[in-house]
Amino acid sequence: MGYVDVTGVRHILPDGRVLFDGVSLRVGEGARAALVGENGAGKTTLLRIVAGDLVPEAGAVTRSGGLGVMRQFIGSVRDDTTVQRFLVDLAPPAVRAAWEAVGSAELTLMETDDDAAQLAYADALAQWGDAGGYDAEVTWDAVTVAALGVPYDRCKYRELSALSGGEQKRLALEALLRGPDQVLLLDEPDNYLDVPGKRWLEGRLLETRKTVLFVSHDRELLARVADRVVTVEGGTAWVHGGGFAGYAEARAARHERMAEVRRRWDEEHARLVELVRTLQQQAANSPDMASRYRAMQTRLAKFEAAGPPPDRPPEQKVAMRLRGGRTGVRAVMAEQLELSGLMRPFDLEVWYGDRLGVLGANGAGKSHFLRLLAGQDVAHTGSWRLGARVVPGFFAQTHAHPEWLDRTLVDLLWHGEPGRPGVDRGRAMAALRRYGLAAAGDQPFGTLSGGQQARFQVLLLELSGATLLLLDEPTDNLDVLSAESLEEALAAFEGTVLAVTHDRWFARSFDRFLVFGADGRVYESAEPVFDETRVVRAR
C-alpha cells in the first residue's frame, strides 16, 4: 500500500512568476483523487513534482509504495518505440536497470564471445531474475493479452505507433494496474478512449486497491471514480474531501469563505490606517500621544507585513451570449439521405428548439453529416434542406481550421467571413473580454490552448447570428469549468442545436439522439447510446 504526501510545495516558472505556492495535500492509501483546474493552472506540473521529475522551489513530497506514472503523451506516441521498450519504461527502476544490463551484455557477447563476456552475460541474467524480470515478463504477457488480445512474445517487437491511441492507453493502464507499484499518477488516462473504453477504465480504477492520483476533464469519469477532488486554482491547491457530486457546491462555498475572510482583513486594515492617521494628528499636539502613535504604527506595519489572506480566485469570466432566434418550425429535413458509402439512407426531421445529440461509432460519418448541414461539399444521395430563417453555425475541433493558425484573434474578428460581419478592434476586444480571451487578443490562434480555441469558436458562432448550431465534439479539450460554462450558454440559446459528442455528461443535456451504428444503420433513440463499436473498413 502506498500514499503521497505533499507539503507546502512552491513552483516558480522560468519567467519568475509563481505558478503555485503552499500546495499541501495527502492522497492516502487506496484513495482515488482527481486533479482538476483550468488549462495552464499547473496540474501537469504538480503531477511532475509528485513524480519527482521536477524539484519544487520549496516544500517536500514524500511517498511510499513505488510509483507508476502514465504521462499525457501516451496515446499519441508516433516514434519507433516498441511494445517491449514501452513496457520496460513503465516497469519499476530495478527491472528497467536489469533489462538495460542484459541488453548491453548481449551486445558485448555478439562482438567478443569469450569467457569474460559469457560470465558477464550470465551475471546480467541472474540479476534480471533477482530484480523480478521473469515475473515482469509473466505480467507483460497478461497485459498484452488483456489490452491487445495477443501474447507478449507475439507483439513485443511491434511498434507502438501501429497501435491506436486507445490501445496505447489501455496497454499502459493494464501494465500499471497489474504492476507492483502501489501509487499511480495518471495524466489524462481517458484521452483517446471511446465510451466503452472509458467505462472499462472506470471499472478498473474502482476495483484497484492502489492509490491513484489522476487528471481528467471527463466529468462522468470524475463523478464515478474520484473520492476526493484536488483543485489547482488561484496559485495554490485545495482538496474537496468528497466526490465530484458535491464539488461545485464545495467550491462555491470555499470561494465565498475566502472572499469573507479577505473582506474582514480589508476592513481591519482600513480601521488601523485611520487610527494611525488620527493618532498622528493628536501626537502633533500632545507628547503623551506620541508613544501611542508609534505603537500603533508598529502594529499597522506588523499587520501589513503578515500580508492579506489570499483573495478568492478570479472567476473564469466567460459570458457566452448565444442568442439564436426564431426560425421555421422545421429546422432540418432529410429524406433518404445517405453520405456516399458511409451509411444506409435515413429520414430525419429536426424541430426548432430541439437539442439533438449525434452519437455513434467512430468512422460512421457523424462529422461528415454535420459538415453537410453546414453547407460544405460532402458527397451524398437523397435530399435535405434547412427550414426558413435557419442559419447554420459550425464548430469543429482545431484541425478543421488550418488557415486560422497564424492569424491573431483580433484580426480574425476584424476581417469577418461570409455570413459574419467584421467588427472593429474596440468591439472585438469587448467580445473577447466576455469570453476571457482579452489577454490573448493579439496572439495567433494556433498558440491558444485547446480550451481557449474552443471558446473563441463559440464567440464566432455568437457573432455570426447562427440559429442552428452544429457542434463537433465541443467539449473535447475543455477543462471542467469551461465545459460547464459552454453548457450554460447552450441552455440559454434560442434555436436548434445538433452536437456530435462522446462526452456522456454533456450528452445528458440533450433530449433526442441520432445514433450512427457500426452496421451503417442510422436510428433515433430517446436515450444516449454509447456502445456502438468502431466501424471496420478495409484499409
Binding site: 564471445d113 531474475g129 521473469y134
Partner: protein, 68 residues
C-alpha cells in the same frame, strides 16, 4: 532461479556433456570434458534455470577450445 535439482536441467546438462565429449573426443578425454562442464556450472550459479543449459554448454565449449 539459481542452481536447482530440476531433473530437466540435470538432463540437459548431461546431454551437453555427451555432445561436448563427442565433439572433443579426438583431443580430450571424456572425464576432462565432464570436469570442465561441472566447473562451468558452478561458475554460472545464479543463472535462471531456463537459461542454464545453453549458457553452460557455451561456456564449456569456449573453455575446452582454449585448452584443447
Amino acid at each position: 532461479m539459481t542452481l536447482t535439482d530440476d531433473p530437466a536441467v540435470e538432463q540437459a546438462v548431461e546431454q551437453a556433456v555427451a555432445r561436448l565429449a563427442d565433439e572433443f573426443r579426438t583431443r580430450l578425454r571424456p572425464q576432462v570434458v565432464d570436469t570442465v562442464v561441472r566447473t562451468c556450472r558452478e561458475d554460472l550459479s545464479g543463472v535462471p534455470a531456463t537459461a542454464l543449459p545453453e549458457l553452460v554448454e557455451r561456456l564449456a565449449r569456449e573453455r575446452l577450445q582454449s585448452v584443447g
